[in-house]
């Protein structure tokens, strides 16, 4: 039947129609998938929300972060500064931050790290931190690849992994081909670009040896290889398989290899007589001087309301200072819940601070009264926002250790900030959390 049918008949027949419809549907699906992939790739984030809540709430607390620019050209500098505190209530299941390394978290090596300092000490290498103490850091980056990137400072903690601070979007324009990182060695050599330095020698030397290796293999491949040689070997004709010429070539290869390798190494020694082994030491950084604890915080009860996406905590605050203090901000997991009724706290949020990590609903302080010097009072804080879900922090209810942590920022009447850590047990509630207070 098909033999006599025309092409149009065939396309109108039922199986062909189904096939064509299927192909159209597949094309649409692929286009949609490509669109989704395109959108996803333009995000260029790198899974910081994937870290478990206890890693973000009870290890390092980052604050006072500033990014010097949001738009750069290739080779422009970006300076990221801020403070970080190694938390008092560090999770029991993680090693303490005895060995940490300051770096950036971003999608690959899109920014070059020019300089890094902690408490004004250069940190080329790893260093140790003390729990409960603060550190001031500075990262000087150089834009390398054009694109839009979420750039975080990051402290990589031995045994705990990378712990990223807050991220800000940075747009880089230009071409990667224009990137240069010049350097001068102590022996007077000029390195025009660190990214490509030495590659001429690497490619020439590896290419030369690759050529010799191919020549050696072709010496054998040009002849019958497998079945004939095996059969000849079975028939006792090994003499035909390894000839005198083969032995000469093998001798040349053996002696030539030794000569070329040691000749090359000798050339390198002559060219670079003063070299240094890799530096495997550690930096030593003292924490910032410890400030007197103005306010002692005791968690009376803390609840995470799962359907309401709300953290509510009743705290007992004791004011040890000579100032009248008010609650201004609760920060945890790089999120800033700011008390909008507190002008000093609101002024501490720069206009260009990443808005996606400052929840709009802020921090509600029930009975928001000033805390007099020496006074002990109970306050209830309410941090309600969908961001708990968006940042995947509601997963804290499935942590093996149901505790939470953060920093409480209080302000005196002069606008000076006083920082107190907050940590304690947290109880998840799957129905109305208010009924449990």
């Amino acid at each position: 039947m098909m033999k006599n049918s025309t092409p149009s008949d065939r396309t109108n027949s039922k199986p062909w129609s189904i096939l064509i419809a299927g192909m159209k549907a597949a094309t649409v699906a692929l286009s949609l998938a490509a669109g989704v992939v395109g959108l996803a790739s333009s995000a260029q984030a790198h899974g910081e929300r994937n870290q478990e809540p206890f890693l973000r709430m009870r290890t390092l607390h980052w604050y006072d972060l500033k990014w010097s620019a949001s738009k750069l050209k290739v080779n422009d500098e970006l300076v990221v500064t801020g403070r970080v505190r190694a938390f008092e209530d560090w999770p029991n299941n993680l090693p303490h931050p005895m060995s940490v390394f300051l770096s950036t978290a971003g999608p690959g090596s899109v920014m070059a790290k020019k300089e890094s300092y902690v408490n004004e000490m250069p940190v080329l290498q790893s260093f140790g931190m003390v729990n409960g103490r603060e550190y001031e850091f500075k990262l000087v980056l150089q834009a390398r690849y054009p694109g839009r990137y979420h750039i975080h400072p990051s402290l990589l903690v031995n045994g705990a992994g990378p712990l990223a601070g807050p991220g800000s979007w940075v747009e880089v324009s230009g071409s990667v081909d224009d990137f240069v990182y010049p350097l001068k060695t102590l022996t007077g050599e000029t390195i025009p670009n660190l990214a490509t330095y030495g590659m001429g020698t690497v490619l020439a030397w590896q290419g030369l040896w690759g050529f010799i290796a191919l020549a050696w293999m072709l010496w054998w491949l040009r002849r019958p290889l497998l079945m004939p040689r095996h059969l000849a070997l079975l028939r006792g004709r090994e003499d035909l398989l390894i000839t005198k010429a083969d032995k000469v070539v093998a001798g040349v290869i053996a002696v030539g290899t030794i000569a070329l390798v040691y000749g090359g190494a000798h050339w390198a020694e002559k060219k670079y007589p003063m070299t240094l082994p890799l530096q495997g030491g550690r930096a030593v950084v003292d924490p910032l001087p410890e400030a007197a604890r103005s306010v002692d915080v005791k968690v009376v009860r803390a609840v995470y309301d799962v359907p309401g996406r709300s953290m509510r905590m009743t705290l007992e605050l004791k004011n040890n200072s000579d100032n009248v203090l008010t609650v201004g901000e609760f920060t945890t997991a790089n999120l800033r819940f700011v008390n909008k009724a507190n002008s000093a706290a609101m002024a501490a949020v720069p206009a260009d601070y990443p808005s996606d990590i400052v929840p709009r609903s802020g921090l509600v302080v029930e009975g928001d009264k000033p805390l007099a010097p020496g006074e002990t009072a109970r306050v209830t804080l309410d941090a309600t926002d969908a961001i708990w879900e968006l940042e995947r922090l509601s997963a804290l209810i499935t942590d093996p250790d149901n505790r939470f942590g953060g920093l409480l920022f209080l302000y005196d009447d002069k606008g000076t900030r006083h920082i107190s850590p907050v940590y304690g047990a947290i109880v998840p509630h799957f129905t109305d959390a208010n009924s449990h207070f």
Binding site: S109, G210, L225, K247, A265, A268, M274, Q279
Partner: protein, 273 residues
Amino acid sequence: MSMSSTTAGGAAAEDPVIAAAGLTPAGAKVSRNFDWVIVLIALFLVTGAFHLHYMLLAGDWDFWVDWKDRQFWPTVAPAAAICFPAAVQYFLWTFFRVPFGATLCIVALMLGEWINRVLGFHLWARFPYALIWPSLLIPSALFLDAVLLLTRNWLLTAIFGAWGFGLLFYPSNWVMLAAYHLPVEHMGQTTSVADMVGYTFPRSATPEYLRFIERGTLRTFGGHSSAVSAFFSAFLCMVIYIGWWFMGWAFSKMIWVANPLASYMGLKNSQQS
């Protein structure tokens, strides 16, 4: 013994090996085609398997220029790299008297490494080539093959060839690496160019403290750590070569296993094995 004599069926009989094998011109032609198919399959098979093996055992030392130290890199890298060459040398030498097993493995490994570095490390993760060039192992492999051919003995190859495999590794790479060990001052501190490359181009999950370099007391050994490491590596290579030569023996054995499902497949007892 030219290429034409082996590929053209009529002239194939002139080749003494073909003649000794007793192959007809048509058989010689088929065997030649078979050679190329097997060589191509072997190249990709060894590339995949050996690359996986080597990356698991010597990965970071081979990935990064600031891991290529005087102690662990020259010890670990050749010791991890001699495994497949030993096993493949057993197979190719014992059954075919073909002495390029080590070179084939190492060329395949380096092919895989460069594919991985260009596509994965450079184009995907955007690391510069100065940070990620792979170690050179070809001189070591050529020497190992040459010693096998000249001695025709696996034990002598283990003693001399495998020693050479380990000893040649560091000097053959020093040609490329020396420039990266020039001293540099940065932020008031002395460091090497290789350390600077590693510092400047961030690896978000490979921090500095993970580097397994220059540890222990070997660094105090008269300042000649690399020579001590190279000799230790040579000894390791000898031992590992012997072990993997017999691995090649074990994997080259043909074992016939009785088919336990024969009766379900309609086979008689006599057809089971």
